[in-house]
């Protein structure tokens, strides 16, 4: 069972999808509950990972599976090569954790073509989990591209007014970047083949061992970095994000923000940085500059938004800037801060999109000026919204503080000191735009008659938010639960990044792999 835990977890949603296809489309309740059950089961299946102590002691890949998938003589080999370590662990869990919440959020929000929506949700979950657990770059690429299709349809079919524009833009932006990455992947593979290292196909672990000439690294890194930068998104490649987020249905926005954006930052941590350490050093200042611009620009633009959802979307650009800055610090504090901030952003921005969804379902508008004084009418909602707002700002005691603080601390201690100093102003801006928005929406007089009849959150909506609140405080108060399982993997990563320049030894193929070469 534990041998195939990851596969089971990853492909369970696809099995669910097949079953969904046989449920009659009129039976919307069953479709929704069935999808919820499947995503919950996936979450339960992923739980053993959360309680496994092995991550505290070992930075190596756990739960690995290795199956030959495609091999064409000795010309090509792709393998089904998956595993989890401290880097992907929390992202996998975040995915399985957010999905049931996203499904639950569709209960009243999605009424058109429910069957299609649920099928796409399940396809999306498999693709996202697959991308996080892939240790073979070819496999990763397959899942990475597969992710685009369901999200494209989600935005395009169930989205808002400018959904077509947003969907096409989203698809083309992300696909263009990844196509260039594909060429780079092939190139790295042949480098590995020539070095006698590609005995496991497109295995990332093998690619880590390569010592690639700096000039080549530059190009390869650029191809990878571009693809991931679009996904993060980093300034100035972020323009697809506000459109996609704003137009997507609530569940789509939640998944997009909470999980899919993490693919970009995860890509840096797992692939771009450790595979091309020299190029990383070379581009470090530029990437850091773009991150800082993203932090400040995202915050300033968010401040000026009239639409709550757009505001949250732009705040993502800002938050992901902190994540990138932490990662680029390339020290323990920065990396762990960046990683935990990925999870934090998933929780708090996911929650913010849900909150926007709640008021949109009630009022069918997201204009800030339409609201005001909601706190009196909806006290439970106000409390939850408040907590999430604090979490997003990074108030001490909430998860956001831990992540941003560590990321900035890491950057301050590294060569990126001055970037960190400037980036800190982003925290203040975050407080400005979030609190200002909160004040305009929740406080003041309840003038608008349409708001006077609003109902407070239903039991379903509260249940939806409770797990998110739990983690807001858990990570905020005792983050060590999460850090302790990240430490060994992070140390190993740092060793890879910092050590490779000296280690540069091309190891010969190990004897027991020779039979793979037919």
């Amino acid at each position: 069972m534990t041998h195939h835990l990851l596969s089971l977890m990853t492909f369970l949603p696809i099995l669910g999808l097949v079953a969904v296809l046989f449920i009659p489309r009129e039976n919307e309740g069953l479709l929704k509950s069935f999808t919820l059950v499947v995503t919950l089961l996936t979450f339960v299946l992923s739980l053993p990972l959360a309680f496994d102590k092995v991550f505290k002691t070992s930075g190596a890949m756990q739960y690995t599976e290795f199956v030959h998938w495609i091999s064409i003589g000795h010309y090509f080999q792709m393998n089904y090569n998956v595993g989890v370590d401290g880097i992907s662990l929390w992202l996998v869990l975040l995915t399985t954790f957010i999905m049931p919440i996203a499904v639950l959020s569709t209960w009243h929000a999605v009424e058109k073509n429910v069957k299609g929506f649920m099928a796409l949700m399940l396809l999306l979950e498999t693709a996202m989990l697959g991308a996080f657990i892939s240790l073979d770059l070819f496999l990763f690429y397959v899942f990475w591209e597969m992710m685009l299709i369901p999200m494209y349809f989600m935005i395009g079919i169930w989205g808002g007014g400018r959904r077509i524009y947003a969907a096409v833009k989203f698809f083309i932006y992300t696909a263009v970047g990844s196509l260039l990455m594909l060429v780079a992947i092939i190139y790295v593979y042949y480098l590995a083949v020539n070095a006698g290292l590609a005995t496991h196909g497109f295995s990332v672990a093998d690619f880590y061992k390569l010592s690639i000439a700096p000039a080549t690294q530059t190009w390869l890194f650029l191809a990878f970095a571009l693809s991931f930068a679009i996904k993060v998104p980093m300034f100035p490649l972020h323009t697809w994000l506000p459109d996609a987020h704003t137009e997507a249905p609530t569940a789509g926005s939640v998944i997009l923000a909470a999980i899919m954006l993490k693919m970009g930052t995860y890509g840096y941590v797992r692939f771009a940085i450790p595979m091309f350490p020299a190029a990383t050093q070379q581009f470090l200042p530029y990437l850091a500059l773009l991150s800082v611009i993203g932090i400040i620009y995202g915050a300033l633009v968010a401040m000026m938004q009239q639409d709550v959802k757009k505001l949250v979307a732009y705040s993502s650009v800002s938050h992901l800037g902190f994540v990138m800055l932490g990662i680029l610090a390339l020290n323990m504090e920065g990396l762990e801060g960046g990683m935990i901030q990925m999870v934090n952003h998933g929780i708090s921005t996911g929650a913010l999109f849900l909150i926007v969804g709640f008021i949109y379902e009630r009022r069918h508008t997201r204009e800030i000026s339409e609201f005001g004084g909601l706190a009196k009418q909806m006290p439970v909602f106000a409390t939850i919204f408040m907590i999430i707002t604090f979490s997003s700002i990074g108030l001490p005691g909430t998860n956001g503080f831990v992540g941003e603080f560590l990321a900035l601390l890491g950057a301050f201690e590294s060569q990126l000191r001055w970037f960190a100093v400037v980036a800190t102003s982003g925290v203040i801006f975050a407080a400005v735009y979030m609190l200002w928005m909160f004040q305009r929406v929740m406080f003041g007089e309840l003038k608008n008659p349409a708001n006077q009849k609003l109902k407070d959150l239903s039991a379903r909506e509260v249940i939806l938010m409770l797990p998110l609140l739990l983690f807001v405080f858990w990570i905020g108060i005792y983050p060590n639960t999460f850090f302790s399982k990240m430490d060994p993997a992070m140390e190993q990563l740092l060793h890879q990044v910092k050590g490779t320049q000296q280690v540069a030894i091309v190891q010969p193929a190990q004897p027991h792999h020779v039979e793979l070469k037919q």
Partner: protein, 491 residues
């Protein structure tokens, strides 16, 4: 005289043309059967043709890995693995085409039985092109293929567009055949032979002299133009959009897969084997043409509002991707071309099969607007079309992705990284116009009720088979790729 006949008979080996002979016999028998069939009753002709194709498929498979090599007619025909791989592509393309045709012909008002034997003859011609090892045999195959196709393209004789397609294809086709023949004549002048193997030997032995001989270069260019015209590579693509748009939809589908693969089969054999000694010269040319073809096809496809015409331009782009594999000229690249031809057959014929069903009589609604909301009204066809389009875009896990991956991998391995980069950027351009079809199918509300869309058994079978092909070659591409590799290595 006796002696002469004996010599002639010695080299006759019918086994070497087994599959095509079988098809031709069936074709002629069907012509006779048609003579006794009342107009409008063509279903049985279609099914008999299917049987012909399947049985011919068995004959063709029998030649796989055959020892000794099936050579015939004084070494002018060979039924090796390479020919067999392509034969299977032709048979699949013809089969899928026939399956989607019958109801369509009735709907359009041309239920004429001669349609099917013509497809069989086209397929037989294609087979001769793939197994021809003599330029004359290849030429013969090309003519049989082309002449049948001229008729098929203009099959709807009452429709102006169809007439235009037939005539245009005929005129330009004849012109390109002239180029090819001129090339054959010149290469004969240089090397003293029309046999591909002997040409190859001559060029390797007298490499310096041949390369210095302008006639040899002229021959290479002329042969190239002849083939490039048939695969619709830029700048010899001008005929494609009009012909593809005007021809009956199943024939358009067939032309973009079967005959194009045939041209590639002959192109690859003549250039890699026959003109292998001049590879340096022709790769430089093909590099530029591959880039041009990809760009022209993709950029013009963006502007099309007629889906059929859009697919026509995109098929130009796809020929460009295949040329990339040819430029790479290594195992992975060339077997990638073979793989891609088969993958393209499935995905393109599948997409056209959906279009065949979606069209009204007279095909007035094959525009993007006409497909508005199609995905909701016809869920299965919508999903199928989406999958074919994703495959054409090259999104995993579909056959189109695997094919492009091999081709670009071949290019990277051969050191043509920039060619691969240009290729993927072109893929990115193609995303836009393929996505647009989905936008209309799913993101727009239906303007029509699509009540006329009926799904006859044949067309549904061809869609399902194409889906299986697209997924099989996308998820487990290894097996087909292995076959493609063996096809180019002989065994």
């Amino acid at each position: 005289m006796d002696n002469l006949a004996q010599i002639a008979m010695k080299s006759v080996n019918f086994a070497a043309i087994g599959p095509s002979l079988w098809l031709s016999c069936f074709g002629m028998a069907l012509l006779l059967i048609n003579a006794f069939t009342p107009r409008g009753k063509t279903a049985h002709v279609a099914w008999i043709s299917i049987i012909a194709l399947i049985t011919s498929g068995f004959v063709a498979i029998g030649a796989w890995n055959h020892h000794p090599l099936l050579v015939g007619f004084s070494g002018s025909v060979v039924l090796d693995n390479y020919a067999t791989f392509f034969n299977m592509i032709f048979l699949i393309a013809a089969g899928l085409t026939i399956l989607m045709s019958d109801e369509y012909l009735k709907r359009e008002g041309y239920p004429v039985g001669e349609y099917y034997p013509l497809i069989l003859f086209t397929t037989a011609g294609a087979m001769w092109m793939a197994s021809g090892t003599d330029l004359m045999t290849i030429f013969l195959g090309l003519e049989v293929l082309s002449i049948s196709l001229y008729v098929l393209a203009g099959f709807f004789r009452g429709q102006l567009r169809s007439n235009e397609a037939g005539l245009k294809y005929f005129l330009l086709g004849a012109f390109s055949t002239g180029f090819l023949l001129y090339g054959i004549a010149l290469i004969y002048g240089v090397t003293g032979s029309t046999n591909v193997a002997q040409i190859s030997r001559y060029i390797y032995l007298h490499r310096g002299a041949v390369l210095a001989n302008p006639m040899a270069l002229a021959a290479m260019v002329l042969l190239g133009v002849g083939f490039l015209f048939k695969i619709a590579a830029a700048p010899f693509h001008m005929w494609t959009p009009d012909v593809y748009q005007g021809a009956p939809t199943p024939i358009t589908a067939f032309m973009s897969a079967g005959p194009k693969a045939a041209a590639f089969a002959a192109f690859l054999r003549v250039f890699f084997l026959g003109l292998g000694g001049m590879r340096g010269e022709w790769t430089a040319l093909l590099w530029i043409l591959a880039v041009l073809t990809m760009i022209v096809g993709n950029v013009i496809a963006i502007n099309q509002t007629n889906v059929k015409r859009m697919l026509a331009y995109s098929s130009i782009a796809h020929a460009g991707y295949a040329l990339v594999g040819m430029v790479a000229a290594n195992t992975i690249g060339v077997s990638g071309v073979l793989f891609y031809m088969l993958a393209y057959t499935f995905m393109n014929l599948g997409a056209f099969a959906v279009l065949v069903l979606a069209g009204k009589q007279g095909e007035e609604n094959l525009t993007l607007e006409g497909l508005s909301g199609f995905g909701y009204k016809k869920p299965f066809l919508g999903v199928a079309m989406t999958i074919f389009l994703l495959s054409l875009m090259g999104i995993p896990p579909t056959a189109g992705f695997a094919g492009k991956f091999y081709i670009f991998a071949g290019a990277v391995k051969a050191g043509y990284v920039w060619l691969a980069v240009i290729g993927v950027l072109n893929s990115a351009v193609s995303l836009y116009y393929y996505l647009r079809v989905m936008v209309y199918m799913y993101f727009r509300d239906p303007t029509e009720n699509f009540g006329w869309v009926k799904a006859p058994v044949g067309a549904v079978i061809s869609i399902v088979l194409s889906l299986i092909g697209v997924f099989y070659m996308g998820i487990i591409p290894g097996a087909v790729m292995e076959l493609a590799k063996r096809a180019i290595y002989g065994s």
